[in-house]
Structure formats: structure tokens, C-alpha cells
Symmetry: C2
Subunit: 418 residues, 2 copies
């Protein structure tokens, strides 16, 4: 008898399974896990296991028989897109988003649409955390993180405008990857905030994350090789940022252990003033959201946000473009800093997954989303209750592939330590 | 009897007509002009004059009874979107783009879809230049420029990825405006090159261009007041850039005349190396186009472009992100330069509209599109054959409103000189 947790507990990533030619068997195990646990996890808004099963053909490309979950903010031809809301809003638009079409072109099989908090705002959906169903999977890419963590799919697509990929990846104990802004084309993805929106990827390893990403970006899927870092930068966070579950001590201990291995680890204070950054974020995001949502205005459903946005609706563009210029100065500053390191390290979230009525705090992720730089989260520790805690790796703008090679090294180091 | 050229030759802009409350009468004159000349001009792919006429209600917002043409690269709910191609590609997607929805919300009336060169590449469509039907209106926003110039509409929406708004505006003798990147949300606009694509506006005056733009961006339409410049920068172009129809002499003469009026005019060489800029443009544009067009690949229709794109299809992202960083350095450099001036001046095109089998050269416009800064073209001279020549005004990133106030001053100076 197949153990329904096989697919989730199998530590092999898709690249390893593809090397063995065992993709169809993996997908079958995943569909069995889905049948057994989806009722409790509720990762999907809608899915079609029978249709997916009928498409499990080996040899139809690098993503042949790879099951993929797609966040309900991203259009697909075969499922409605509800943006986490109860009714189907995008009436009539049943067309694959760019990313979905690319995945299918390489043989990937879309299993269904994963739960997204309503219009990607932090109001929890029904999804539970596969490690503890009383806890949140995080948001807004809730179902995508949970679907990979529960072993229902090998990959899932999410989005990140603040921390909606990296944070749920940390809470759910899977790899999360937010590429450099503009690496993945957003056609067919509901806009939230134009210069902050990114596609995100959930996978079993950093190498899998690049495998899927490179398949979308190039005409081939690349298997990236783990690369030992030579120089790392650790960011010391100001006291205003809450850190739970022993995160500061874990990071300090990791830095010491890396130094013992001969890696040059530098520690500095977070190079931004929190108040300045919060204002920047607000001036960018609120101005953009207020414009995007004027058509149809789904946010009317979240009254407190409606009130927050009101002053930005009629404001002219001067403050907005000033914020864009401020961001560019931050970007230049960070780019100069990051260029000297293989990765910048900090916690992926403020702690382990909180109880289910709150999708958690994106404070650890907002900086990097606004700066457009690539970020990965690798499950690296467990707290006293056994809940996963992610290590966040940040790279210079455009260093996506190299960052995931470094992240893969951390992933293997962790795998070996188990 | 109504003279069918009334609408085209009336030098009053929409703001003036709205002040008089005469918008419906203007729209009626425009529909008469359309009936008389559209067969020769061929500005529209499809239009519905009867439906437009039925919507000519005064008082339904700042754009009440304003007839608007929409480039066929932009989706509308009531017309098919063919992207300049023969068949309707966006099958099933009959939804207003963000910009179109905003125009309608303020009372604007969409008359129809204007001709766009096939997929916005430089292969001429059927549209003729209203000033001389043997000449091109320019491209790719061919029909939008011609529709405003022929007096069929008060406004038209175009796009600009290289020079597709400013150049046709110059050829057709109307105001063209390409806002700062990101001022106008691109949802519902077919992507060509993600970090180069901009919406563009055609109108009867810079003040009209801001009136329409501010209506889309804010909840109100602003009437901008002409502002006399204090400091201007004139760019001297390298000899590799062809300049016809006495453009260099006209610019030099204008500079002298402005100086006589007490305006500080500085002249410098174009602050970019042409070869560096051409490479930057190519590395950005080709990489982005190659990815966007992998789905469905409409470019297959233009074999030479297919061949140009091929090496960029499989290339990884390193060269692309290096180009993005190079652009950022150019942007910082230009921003520091432009901040000291009310506008930077240069020709809007290499000369007057060429014969109809060629949509003309975008060399005068590519820099500013790639740098994301706001640009306006104001009809300012006529060549020996009476064909219009535009003056291009470029502003610092985010200075859109101020730039159009300066452009309005040039527009009035020109009107007075007539």
C-alpha cells in the first residue's frame, strides 16, 4: 500500500526524479497524497486530478509529468480565475498567462488553481499549514506553498508584492524563490502594484526552482550545481523588527559555523532606515494600487484598505515619482554592497507560522521586493514545536542563477545535517 | 453647409471647446470629417460612428462627448483587437484595457480602433498622412496620429516602445506625449518589450494631452497652464544622425530667438555614445521581445526580425540584467543633467514624413523611451512642401506635468506666430 505521505516526505527533488525517469510515478504518488489530504489542507480553489492524470506522459519536455499548482491570481485556459474571491471576476478571460503557457510548452501539467487570499490582501483563506493544520501557511500565495509542502505537486507558481512567496515558503518548509524584477513576464497575472509585483516559484529545492524558472525564461531547463560561497554578508536587524523562535541566535550560530568552514562572513546593520523604507513602500504601493483598483475596485471588500488608499487616489504623480527616484538610489546602494558577496543572509520571516487567523508579517521581505533583487528561502531550522524556519538569501540584481546555486549549497548542507 | 475640414483646421483644443460647452457640436463636426475623408486616410481598423453619436451626452464627466481613437494594440470591450494583423488574435478577450476604462469612466467616447502596423513592427499599414496622402503618417501608432490630424477625434491613444508616438505626431502635425514609464498602467495593452513599452497620447495641444492623461491617472482632469521656460538645454546631434528639412538650422534659430527673449539656453553634445546606446537598446528590447513572443510568436510573420531575435531566445539572463544596470546608470546621469532645465530640446524626427512605403526612423526617440523620461512633440515648423516638423521636448523622470506646461508655452508661441 502506498503511504500517502510518501510524496511529501521524499526528500528528492524533481531534478533527481527526472534523472531517474520516475516523473510519472512521482506524479501518481502526489495525486494519491492529494486525494488523502486535500480536504484538510485545502490548497486548491479548483483542480482536476483526472485531467492531470491523463496528461502524465513521459518525454514531452523537461517538465514532462511535472505537476504544477497555479496561484489563483494567474490566468489559465482551463480553470476560472477568481483572485481569491468568491465569484469569477475575469469573466470570459480563459487564457493561459505567459508563465502558464511556458510551463505547458515544456510538458508541465497544471493540476489546478491554488488558494490566494482575497485579491492578495492579508485576509486568510481556508488553506492550512501541512506541518500543523492549526497554523497559517502564510499568504497571499497560501495554497501554492501548502501544495508543495503537502507533496501534492512538485512546483507551484505564486506572486510576491511584499512577502507573499518567501514568507509562506518559510512557514511551510519549502524552497521559495522571487526572481529579479522583470525576469518572468507578468502577462496574464492580475496586477496589484505594478512596480512591486513579481512572480514567485515554490519547489522542493533551489535547484528545482531554477529548473522551472529557466524553462520559462529560456528554451531549456537548467540543472544548477550547488556552489560553496566564499563571501557572505549577514544583516543585523534593528530591535523594532520582532524576531521569534530564536532566529537571531540561529543566524549568529550559522555565521560562526560558516566561518569555521573558512567562509568569510561579514556582519553589518541593516543598511536602510526602517521609517524611510516604510514610507517608500507606502508611496509606491498605495499610489499604484489606488490606480489599478479604480477599475472595478475589488478592494472595496476590505474597508480598512479602502480608507488607507483614499488619499492616494486623487494625488498627483509628484510624490510617486519622487518615491521611484528614492528607490533607485536605494537600488544603487544595495547593488554596490551586494556585488561583493555570494549572498546576503537574514531570516525569511519573523518566526515560525503563526496561528491560522493571521497570515503573518512580511517585514523581512518588503525591502527586497521593493529593490527588485532576487531572493530565495531555504528551509533550514525547526523550532521547538518542529515547525520550519527558513533562511533567506538575497542577491545582487540579476544574479538569480548564481544566488540559487548558493542556495542549493545551503539546501544540501541542511539535507546532510538531518 | 459644413466644411468637412472644419474640425481639422479649427485650432481650438478640447479644453477650449469644453470651456465653451461645445463638445457635442465638435464631435458632430469630427464625425462629418470622418465620413468625408476616412476612405482616403484609413485611420481606423474598425469604428462605429452611430454608436459613438448615440453616446454624445454633455455633462457626463470631464471627457464628456470627447471622441477618442484607440490603437489596435489596446483592448476594448466593444471592438476586436487585432494588433494590426488580419485575424483577431485575442480571441475571446473583449475587455477594456485600464486606460480605455478610465477614459470611459470620465465620459470619453471610443470611436474605434486605429490602425497599428502589424504587431507594432515597422511594416506600413494602409493609413495615409492627412497632410499629404502619398506620405506616411509614421508608425506604429499610424492611425492614432492620422485620426487626430484629420480632425476625426480629439484624442487618440498610442504606444511607444521606440518612437511610435512622438515620430507619427511630428509627421502628422499634432501633439504627441509619451509619459514617464509607469505613469499609465499597461493592463490590457499587448506587450512588445516590457521595460520599453509606454502608452502614448495624441491630442490638439500639450494642455489637451495632460487633460486626458490626468483624467486617467487621477480622479480629475487638469487644465495645465502654459509656463514660460527659464532654462533650456539644446542637444547637438552627432553627424551619424541624419537630419533633413533644415532641422539643425531651425533648432539653432529657435535657440537664438529664445535667448533674445531672455531665456537661458545651453547647447551641449548628445550625452550618449550612439554605439553604446544602440547596444543597450538591442540587449533590452530583443531579449524581452524574444520572451514575450515565444507564446504564439506573431513575429514569425516578419522573417528578418525572427532571424535577429534567434540568438536572444536561448540566451540566459546575465547580458539582459547587465543591460538593465547600464540603463540605470544612463538614467541617473540624465536625471542629474535634466534637473537643471525646464526641458531638453531636439528634433522630434529626422525630418518631415517620408513617402508612404516607409514609416520613418525612430532614432530621435529611442534614447528617451529607453530612459523612461517624459517626452512631448509639438508641431513647430513646416518644410518647403508645407509638411509639419515637430519640436521634441524631454523632461526629467516624473516631471510630466511641468514638461507639458512648458510644451504648452511652445505651442502657444507657435500658434501666435502663425
Amino acid at each position: 500500500m502506498i503511504d500517502e505521505m510518501d510524496a511529501a516526505t521524499d526528500c528528492r527533488d524533481f531534478c533527481a526524479v527526472a534523472e531517474l525517469g520516475a516523473q510519472v510515478a512521482l506524479a501518481e504518488r502526489q495525486l494519491t497524497a492529494l486525494a488523502a489530504r486535500e480536504q484538510v489542507i485545502q490548497a486548491f480553489v479548483c483542480h482536476d486530478a483526472a485531467a492531470a492524470r491523463s496528461r502524465l506522459a513521459p518525454g514531452s519536455g523537461p517538465l514532462a509529468a511535472a505537476l504544477v499548482g497555479v496561484k489563483d491570481l494567474i490566468r489559465t485556459a482551463d480553470f476560472p480565475t477568481r483572485y481569491g474571491a468568491r465569484e469569477e471576476r475575469a469573466a470570459g478571460i480563459r487564457q493561459d498567462a505567459w508563465c502558464v503557457a511556458e510551463i505547458r510548452r515544456h510538458g508541465g501539467v497544471i493540476l489546478g488553481k491554488t488558494v490566494c487570499t482575497e485579491f492578495a490582501y492579508p485576509v486568510p483563506g481556508p488553506t492550512t499549514n501541512p506541518h500543523d493544520v492549526r497554523r497559517t501557511p502564510g499568504g497571499s500565495s497560501s495554497g501554492s506553498a501548502a501544495a508543495v509542502a503537502a507533496g501534492f505537486v512538485s512546483f507551484a507558481l505564486g506572486t510576491q508584492t511584499a512577502g507573499s512567496t518567501i514568507r509562506p515558503a518559510s512557514y511551510c518548509g519549502v524552497t521559495g524563490f522571487k526572481p529579479s524584477y522583470g525576469l518572468l513576464h507578468l502577462d496574464g497575472v492580475q496586477a496589484v502594484s505594478t512596480t512591486l509585483d513579481h512572480l514567485g516559484v515554490f519547489a522542493r529545492s533551489p535547484r528545482d526552482a531554477w529548473y522551472l524558472t529557466s524553462a520559462m525564461v529560456m528554451s531549456r531547463a537548467e540543472v544548477v550545481v550547488a556552489r560553496a560561497p566564499k563571501r557572505l554578508l549577514v544583516l543585523r536587524l534593528p530591535v523594532q523588527i520582532a524576531q521569534n523562535d530564536g532566529y537571531p541566535e540561529r543566524i549568529a550560530e550559522l555565521a560562526m559555523s560558516l566561518r569555521r568552514d573558512g567562509i568569510a562572513v561579514t556582519t553589518i546593520d541593516l543598511p536602510f532606515r526602517l521609517d524611510q523604507f516604510a514610507n517608500l513602500q507606502k508611496d509606491l504601493c498605495y499610489w499604484e494600487i489606488a490606480r489599478i483598483l479604480r477599475v472595478g475596485g475589488p478592494v472595496r471588500l476590505v474597508p480598512q484598505l479602502e480608507a488607507q488608499l483614499a488619499p492616494y487616489r486623487d494625488s498627483d504623480s509628484a510624490a510617486y515619482f519622487a518615491a521611484r527616484s528614492r528607490r533607485q538610489a536605494f537600488q544603487q546602494e544595495f547593488q554596490a554592497l551586494a556585488a561583493d558577496y555570494d549572498a546576503v543572509l537574514m531570516p525569511a520571516a519573523t518566526g515560525a507560522a503563526p496561528p491560522i487567523d493571521d497570515t503573518g508579517d512580511a517585514i523581512m521581505n518588503r525591502f527586497w521586493t521593493a529593490l527588485h533583487v532576487p531572493v530565495a528561502s531555504v528551509p533550514f531550522w525547526r523550532n521547538d514545536a518542529g515547525l520550519p524556519l527558513g533562511l533567506q538569501l538575497i542577491g545582487a540584481f540579476g544574479s538569480d542563477r548564481a544566488l540559487l546555486a548558493t542556495a542549493q549549497w545551503f539546501h544540501l548542507r541542511r539535507e546532510e545535517a538531518r
